[in-house]
Amino acid sequence: MTDFTLASARDALKAKKISSLELTTALVKAVEEARPLNAYVTETPEKALEMARASDTRLAKGEGGALEGLPLAIKDLFCTKGVRTTAGSNILGNYVPPYESTVTQNLWDAGAVMLGKTNMDEFAMGSSNETSAHGPVFNPWMAKNSNSKLVPGGSSGGSSAAVAANLCLAATGTDTGGSIRQPAAVTGTVGLKPTYGRCSRWGIVAFASSLDQAGPMTKTVRDAAILLKSMASIDPKDSTSVDIPVPDYEKLLEGGIKGLKVGIPKEYRMDGAPPEIAALWDKGAEWLKAQGAEIMEISLPHTKYALPTYYIVAPAEASSNLARYDGVRFGHRAKGVRDITSLYEKSRAEGFGLEVQRRILIGTYVLSAGYYDAYYARAQKLRTLIARDFTEVYKKCDVILTPATPGPAFAVGDKSDDPVAMYLNDVFTVTVNLAGLPGLAVPAGLTANGLPLGLQLIGKAFDEATILRAGLAIEQAAAFNHKPANWWRAA
């Protein structure tokens, strides 16, 4: 029951082969049994069953939305009305929002069922889910002949683990520098970061406003198309939401990729990258070529500036976005303080984890008088150049194929003491956020150790349909049907 995809469950519900209650009950049980993975921080079984019953009523009448009765996991960055929302941080404490994010509201309006809220790096700052105040999430995958626990990627690590371990049919994620695509790639799942402005940011706890974007994390490319269609909307409550109609992505999956021009950026061939990554990349190009695509080498000359640019822009925005967590109105408030300055200092020191504090400090620094021009202003110029690189190559090609990550999942604790090593996980993904483009991570193979690896397809702005179609081509060619062994139930 829990191996259903969104598409297959939808069809089975429609054909009345199963009920949403049966499906939801099975998933609620799976979620409970998988607590050792720590994928969920808040389970909402009662709410799930209630929503499932309501869906069954509608389905019985032949009614219902595009996601009617389909159980989903929601990253804990989305504000959910009446359900605790922590953003993976102690500073929000037991914050219960009195409002529902636009994206999740869209999902409930489409009939989806909420299973709970998934774990994540604190304020989405991390690439391994180790910065969460709720503790790390464990990747359902383990390397061959090894018992060492691996990270599920981050920041949407709870969502990626939940999808990979069949603890939901699909999940929402958010992606500021790779937080959907990187965890998807290291868990053998599909992750799509839509074009900036495609999904509303209203009600999503902000990390870096000019980069944050919600997207689907699913078992298949088709599911990503289905889920994106319901998540996306034009939202007057988000000034950066873009007024372009949302197409039927699932329908647009058809048609193949004959004649599709696929760019291979030479700057993404990094020295010291594992040979398995390069080999997989080549294989991906061959698969696409075999289905009629035209492969061409392209150049994105400012790629090398992407990571430093990102680590100026994102912390700068974060330092300001996180100023509202001050212990005054909601969330954690330090005790035993006598004045307002110590209330701020103590509440924030206690409430924020070290990585978040590090980024607030970096962000505050790069915006400070005397440093602004040297850092923030230059980063903005570079951001323009990075975006222009893409504009140039899209005169020649339709999509860009790159590896999704520089390597497979690593062991818990391996990189947590070395921020720069951790930041390098996003080397292939951050450019896409800086340019505001859509990017899709698709599972494409296993390492010799049996760990999943993914490829990334980068598209033109608002052309999610084309990368989904190319992603489907890779998915079909790779015939990736591996699943992790269920070790957590025993644990």
């Binding site: 989305f78 504000c79 929302t85 953003a87 929000l92 914050y95 929002p97 009195p98 409002y99 994010s101 940011r201 209203w202 009600g203 999503i204 706890v205 902000a206 870096a208 406003s209 000019s210 007057p236 409550k237 988000d238 000034s239 950066t240 700068a316 925005e317 330092s319 300001s320 996180l322 100023a323 509202r324 001050d326 005054v328 109105r329 909601f330 307002i340 701020y344 505050t364 915006l367 400070s368 008088a369 602004y372 923030y376």
Partner: protein, 505 residues
């Protein structure tokens, strides 16, 4: 109008070492008249219970996003146009970052390098009837903060977020004011302009308008050098006096601050650039924080908002809808025949100017102005009322003044008539008819009254022949006899004729 940019006499402070000039610039925060806040739908009404007009956005809740209120943008553009300023079709909202309990987001959304309105100008009207040009540097839109309440409990401070997120226009002048009178006159004129435009109610008591006043002093001549080459080195170090909330306090604060600075400099000290508070009870300014203690606001463009792009045609539409502003109205009133001073007084408030215009319709401008000043405003001032409280309509007053002009009633009856309609109401023309107040110009009636007075006072008739000046006594008696309704001119003429008095008598 005789506008001059810098040639009016500066206020001179006589120090022990010589004469000093004052230089003043101002930053005025004017609350935009709008039903809802700058970036949220919460109400802006004054006087609500604390924290009753707060949206999730205003409270800085996680994940909440600002959405620009178009009405506020329109009001800023309207104000910019009223200040004869350049409207920037592209402007940017920035975040000004600092921590304070009444600032829920931890930043104020403001405009830093790219404001919505650029350079403009305001003519201020001085008591001697002259006008002085004060340059406007810029106008930008920003959010107001909430209010910290420290006096509700000995142990706790409270925060009222009703004001949080309300739209403010910050209007920054060039350092073009040179006396406390000019500073107060600027604020008065700016208030008149925004009230005419309907973009700010200008209620300083409610905090709708407040000024930060920058004051410096320099040796006589320094200012002219500054105006010649634009270099601030000719001016003294300035101090900013925060949140001054009345015209009178602005003048007092400038006076105090300038003298304080002169005393320090003459005593061998130097002025530190700092922010100061004006204490209206003690009539002094006090240090708030020095330049070194000033915040580093870490301004950067707000990524939640797109650059604000305005359509030139839209701006043009707003321009066409602007009302006549005080300066134009004043010029028109002067052309009617009013003195510049009278015209300035009348245009200071739009309601007053409108009232005057309705009152003056078809009658002599000067006579109408005198009637308004002497009879209406005098009475209002006595009762501490404003023009909005007048119980007699401008049209009714117009009827009274018209009746005086065409001889229907006498000037004295006019005053009585105003008193009647003021206290009892009614249409002046009907009251005149109903109570028989019509001026008697019928020579027969006047002659009869004269005969009656002569008959009763034969001795006076002899006296007046010897002393023609006594004719005035006769006029008075005849007026009394007619109940004040006789036309004094007609009485005078008839008396002279009857008593054979010389014309110059």
């Amino acid at each position: 109008m005789s506008p001059t940019s810098s040639s009016t006499a500066a206020q001179i402070i006589k120090g022990q070492t010589g004469d000093w000039e004052i230089v003043i610039g101002m930053e005025v925060h004017a609350q935009v008249s709008s039903n809802s806040k700058l970036f949220s739908g919460a109400s802006t009404e004054f006087g609500a219970e604390p924290n009753n007009q707060v949206s999730f956005v205003d409270a800085g809740m996680p994940g909440m996003l600002p959405v620009i209120n178009e009405k506020c943008v329109e009001q800023a553009v309207r104000t910019g146009l009223g200040l004869k300023a350049k409207i920037n079709l592209r402007s940017i909202f920035d975040r000004k970052n600092y921590f304070y309990p009444d600032l829920p987001q931890g930043y104020q959304i403001s405009q830093f390098q790219n404001p919505i309105v650029g350079e403009g100008e305001v003519f201020i009207d001085l008591k001697d009837g002259s006008s002085v040009l004060v340059g406007i540097e810029r106008l930008h839109l920003e959010q107001d903060a909430g209010k910290s309440l420290h006096d509700q409990s000995p142990d706790n401070s409270y925060v009222d977020l009703n004001r949080s997120g309300i739209a403010l226009m910050e209007i920054v002048t060039k350092p073009h004011m040179r006396s406390s009178e000019e500073a107060a006159a600027f604020l008065r004129k700016l208030r008149a302009i925004v009230r005419y435009l309907g973009t700010c109610d200008g209620n300083m008591d409610e905090g709708s308008m407040r000024a930060d006043v920058n004051v410096s002093v320099c040796k006589v001549g320094g200012y002219d050098k500054f105006r010649a080459d634009g270099s601030f080195k000719h001016l003294g170090t300035r101090c900013e006096i925060k949140n001054v909330n009345s015209m009178r306090f602005v003048a007092q604060a400038v006076e105090y601050e300038a003298r304080r600075q002169v005393e320090i400099i003459e005593g061998g000290g130097t002025i530190k650039q700092e922010t100061r508070l004006f204490d209206s009870k003690l009539n002094e300014t006090r240090s708030m924080r020095s330049k070194e203690e000033a915040h580093d606001y870490r301004y950067f463009p707000d990524p939640d908002l797109l650059p604000l792009e305005l359509d030139a045609a839209w701006v043009e539409t707003i321009k066409k809808s602007l009302p006549e502003l005080p300066d134009e109205k004043r010029a028109r009133f002067v052309a009617f025949g009013l003195t510049p001073y009278d015209a300035s007084v009348l245009v200071a408030e739009r309601e007053l100017a409108d009232y005057y215009e309705a009152l003056a319709k078809g009658v002599d401008a000067k006579a109408a102005a005198n009637w308004l000043n002497n009879e209406i405003l005098g009475r209002l001032n006595r009762d501490s009322l404003t023009i909005a409280d007048v119980p007699v309509s401008a049209a009714a007053n117009n009827a009274i003044v018209t009746m005086v002009a065409d001889g229907t009633i006498s000037g004295k009856i006019a005053k009585d008539l105003l008193y009647i309609v003021w206290t009892e109401g009614g249409d002046p023309r009907q009251v005149v008819e109903a109570r028989g107040l019509r001026q008697v110009t019928d020579t027969g009636a006047i002659d009869a009254a004269i005969e009656a007075v002569i008959a009763a006072n034969p001795d006076k008739v002899e006296e007046v022949k010897a002393k023609p000046k006594l004719a005035a006594w006769f006029v008075g008696q005849v007026m009394k006899q007619t109940g004040g309704k006789a036309n004094p001119g007609a009485v005078n003429a008839a008396l002279k004729k009857r008593l054979n008095l010389p014309d110059e008598g």
